[in-house]
Amino acid sequence: MKKLPSILSACNFACCLLLILLGVFHESLNISDVTMLAGRFHVLFLHLPIGGMFALICIRLLKKTMQQEPYEHIFNLVLSNVLLVSLLSAITGIFIAASGDYGEEAVALHRKAGMTFSVLLYAYSVIRHYLGVIAETLLFTMLIFVLVFTGHQGGVITHGTEFFAVNPDQTDETDTTDWNKKPVFESAIMPVMQKKCTSCHNEQKSNGGLMLTDAASWQKGGKSGALLIAGDVNNSLIINRLLLPMDDEHHMPPAEKPQLTEEEINLLRIWIESGASYTKTVQNYSENDSLLAIVSAMILKTSRKEKQYTFGNAPKEVVSRLNNPYVSVKPVYAGSPALSASFFVASAYQTASLDGLKTIGEQLVHLNLSGMPLGSKDFEIIASFRNLERLYLNNTAISDQDIKLLEKLQNLIYLSMQDCRVSPAVEILFSSIKPLQTVHIGSDKINEGIIASWQKRHKDINFVSGVKIHEAIPLSPPIFKNEEGILKTGDSIRLMHHIRGASIWYTTDGSTPDTIKGIQYRKPFAIRQSAEIKAIAIKEGWVTSQPASFNAYEAGVEPKAVRLISRPAPQYPGLGPATFTNRKLATISNTRDANWIGYRDEPCVLEVEFEEPVAVQRVVLNFACHIPQYIFPPTRIRVYGGNSLHAMQLLGSKSLKPIVPAEKEKVLSDTGQMVLLGKAYRYFRIEADNLSKIPAWHPGKGEKGWLFIDEIFFYR
């Protein structure tokens, strides 16, 4: 350890000599790979002298509290180290500067300062013992200043001169005035470069020997050759570098830096394709040139940035006092002085609330009064908000008189008056308010022809008219208001339609209604026993609705008992025999509804017993028809009757129409009935066969179909 100070001092001496040599002959320095590599270490070393000097300052401050000898030991050791890293930093700095990637002017100053610091520090370490307290302190202070200056110069090289500007974002702002008179290169391409490229390719720091700061430097190119070949995008270096994969080390900008957007790359491509002219302005390009479109889109976008206002903030207390549940006043965004106000709940509207906004009249730029019950007094107040830019008056009763008042709104850009009863007199606003850009208007007094003529006369304004559907579109089917399909005594069928003026026509026999076959629905009607009601809705100007169907049943004669003769499918046992007579209908969408009883392996066979013989005239079955779920109507229904279970005779047999491919989506609760002669019997036997073989057009072809029965009704 004892040898350390002397080793350090020898190193320092050697380094100092080397530095001076390099300093004198730096212009004739030959760059080899070794020196290049050594040069890269500059970025590592340069931070150490700064930290070291800080340590020295701290030690000096503690001098009074320490004894002389340890103080000197510590101070000397740290000083030698600081000196070593300063010298190394300066030497490597000279190497990196010689690589030529940096602007000579800025580097020269940094180099001089760095060398001065190192040499001065060396001198200080040698002569400080011979100096008086004041001279020593002065020299030390001077060293600190030189170091700070050197550091700052170095910072300028890497980060640019505007790094310390208060608001760095403002450098993003591009001057868009007269953009169409400047060359496209300057108005569109340079701003992209300034945002994404020139922080590394500038006069001070030209990585890869490339500067991108002006037309001359573009034409010069860099170490890898010409930047671009006019008209040949595929062989232009700049485009290739931009399009390399992110992980390629030649990809530009480097992966950690902000990348060019697709739009920006596109701009460059099109500009190169069209000849890469540094002087042509947009006016030199033909109107259909894609370059013109992309340039104007980009520039207008940047200039559409957040608007700057000249007025100041409204006092916070004032703004918060204006807010209540029915009025919301807020800055347009955090920190903006501009305010937007919206009114809610028409029945709670008060003119006084609108009048209250006068205290922030200067700041108010957005106002939404849609749906509010406004009168002339309110419009007078609105007209006093001179800075208004967006005004919503949809669904308000604005009169021609009120329209005239709005002429005072000379900053209005956007006006929406949909669902208003304004007359064509509103046109005066379009010529008197110059900034107006968009007008939404919909009124039964203004037809599409008037709007088209306005559009011709006021080309700068975009008119948006109310949408009118001229084609006829279908009405929705009528709605059955009855909650249950099984009617209680005295219940009637209630129908409705939501659309005003739609008439409803219905039939009760399952046939499709029209205005000849059907009955017009005017009031609730009763049915007898059971009915398959179908109803349509009709209105002029609309396509007649699809029929809605609804099966309604009276309860009929209640049997004493029902016995299952065949076995239902074990998965769908329903509620057992009671399922058929519990007088509750199942929902069609839910096959698990316990009001369904399902059959497949065996047909449905059951016996029904009454207290005493009943002269049944009609037997009605309610069953499911859910074709996508393999549930088909019964193919045949047979009814037997008798006064003893052993002497039953066939009363009727009926085959139902098979389902055809067109009905493959059919999902509904269907009804089937059997008309009998009405002879009285005590026992009845019902047989309903399920489909034995699903037809070929169905996904389940060849399989047995399911039969789902819900209720069976007996009517006298």
Partner: protein
């Protein structure tokens, strides 16, 4: 200070108190030494007020999210792949599938026969966007919409995918998108909830929706989505029972609030504060909701625009019309769900019925917002939770096929709210299986929506269980290319 958002984190609950105790005392001591009044409550309130505003000038103020629940097939709607028709019935090349995991529903299939759209496609609008004939009305607004064909997600089943789309996480303990916006931007209209939910059901094979999709998660309960009913009375139990006047209700609420305040003083549970707020909101809603949900004054033009169904309360069309009215009245986020898009089988039969339900009303909503001058400040989003496979699930027969879940690529569209109109973003390969250009992850989608609303997705955070949460958690990039 009536907005509970501002007070949100000042509520002393046990966790908050203990969390602050150790750190808080030290920093308070140091802080008061350095700068007087550093920790005065005023600066803190200031901070919260500015947080309840957009971070920068927003493009959109409100969102209407038309969620197509069950995942509509992109291959029969917006992602036109004629190659699949050409290769009808051939097996999906293994190189295309490339080891992609499949659901249990098709993983055991022996073959994966490719199947193209049963429905023809046509180009629409100036940008020539390909849209299938199932959506003739959406085709008419092609110049207003931005179709993103390169959405992709991480989940392969409905529940996690839906939850991911809604909350940015698959597990379902995080706040929904609408809740985040309610938290970040507050409510425009204090008479309505900032986040409303409307449900409807098509005839196709359906998947459930459940209230965890509109949960406030760890955010204050006032940010929870409010589900509207499908009955004629759209908000149940809102109106006063007969015999109770508005004044009586006021007196009752005041008394309840007094009791709740006493309880709050004792227990300090922030949920009590939320409850008081909810009672007050419901009281204000008593005037606002009947005004908005009354569709009887809608003009014939509007009814024709949305279609005849729009006056029947449980339909998608009526929800679209109501969504417009709610949004127009300042509701920050209106979330619709339309069920029935899960076409594992019988796609050719169910898809037209589903499309018919939503086509006219979805387009009507965009046109209606536009005619009212609201489209440029209202973001409309249409889409499901993932896509569907390009191969058939189950047996393939002429005109009948099904498609399984496909998270690698799906299509959604957005309109208004500062999104570039009339464009297509992203592209899939010719099999419609993998994304080949501009992928948009669910997190990117969330980041973009927040950005359009004037919020930086990396700054909209909430600290919970010792860590900071975001809607995009630790990912998400704003898709700048679709922003106008």
């Amino acid at each position: 200070m009536s907005n509970p958002f501002f007070e949100n984190r000042l509520r002393v609950n046990r966790r908050y108190f203990l969390g602050r105790l150790s750190l808080g005392l030290g920093t308070a001591a140091l802080g008061s030494l350095l700068i007087k009044d550093l920790f005065s409550s005023e600066t803190q309130t200031e901070n919260f007020i500015t947080q309840a505003l957009p971070h920068f000038a927003p493009k959109a103020k409100r969102v209407i999210y038309l969620f197509q629940n069950g995942a509509p097939s992109q291959l029969e709607s917006f992602d036109y792949k004629p190659m699949l028709n050409k290769m009808y019935g051939q097996d999906l090349p293994l190189s295309v599938r490339n080891g992609q995991r499949l659901t249990g529903m098709t993983a055991n299939q022996d073959t994966f026969p490719l199947v193209g759209s049963y429905f023809p496609f046509r180009q629409h609008g100036e940008a020539g966007i390909w849209i299938s004939d199932l959506f003739p009305n959406i085709a008419k607004i092609a110049d207003e919409i931005c179709v993103i064909k390169s959405m992709h997600t991480e989940a392969i089943n409905h529940d996690p995918a839906l939850t991911f789309m809604q909350t940015g996480a698959q597990q379902g303990n995080r706040p929904s998108m609408g809740s985040w916006l309610s938290y970040g931007l507050g409510s425009e209209n204090q008479n309505l909830p900032a986040f409303c939910v409307l449900l409807s059901k098509g005839k196709g094979n359906g998947q459930g929706v459940y209230s965890k999709l509109w949960t406030n998660g760890f955010l204050d309960s006032v940010h929870q989505g409010v589900q509207f009913s499908n009955s004629e009375e759209r908000v149940l139990y809102l109106l006063n029972q007969s015999g109770l006047t508005r004044n009586d209700r006021r007196l009752m609420l005041d008394k309840i609030s007094e009791l709740n305040h006493i309880n709050f003083e004792e227990v300090g549970d922030p949920e009590i504060q939320s409850k008081i707020e909810q009672y007050e909101l419901a009281y204000r809603m008593q005037t606002a909701v009947p005004e908005i949900t009354d569709l009887s004054k809608e003009s014939d033009d509007i009814i024709k625009l949305y279609g005849a169904d729009c006056l029947i309360p449980d339909t998608y069309a009526s929800n679209c019309l109501l969504a417009r009215k709610l949004s127009e009245s300042g509701v920050r986020f209106v979330q619709l769900y339309h069920q029935g898009w899960d076409q594992h089988s019988n796609l050719s039969g169910e898809m037209p019925v589903q499309a018919m339900d939503v086509d006219r009303a979805s387009a009507a909503l965009v046109m209606d917002l536009k005619q009212r001058g609201l489209l440029d400040e209202t973001l409309v989003i249409w889409g499901g939770e993932f896509g569907r496979t390009n191969y058939c699930q189950g047996p393939l027969s002429a005109g009948n096929y099904g498609r399984d879940h496909h998270p690698r690529a799906y299509s959604i569209w957005m309109a208004g709210g500062g999104v570039k109109p009339g464009m297509v973003y992203g592209e899939t390969d010719e099999f419609g299986y993998n994304i080949i250009e501009n992928p948009v992850h669910v997190n990117d989608f969330h980041a973009t929506v927040l950005h359009l609303m004037g919020l930086d997705h990396e700054k909209l955070i909430y600290k919970h269980l010792g860590r900071r949460y975001r809607l995009t958690d630790v990912a998400g990039k704003v898709v700048n290319d679709i922003i106008a």
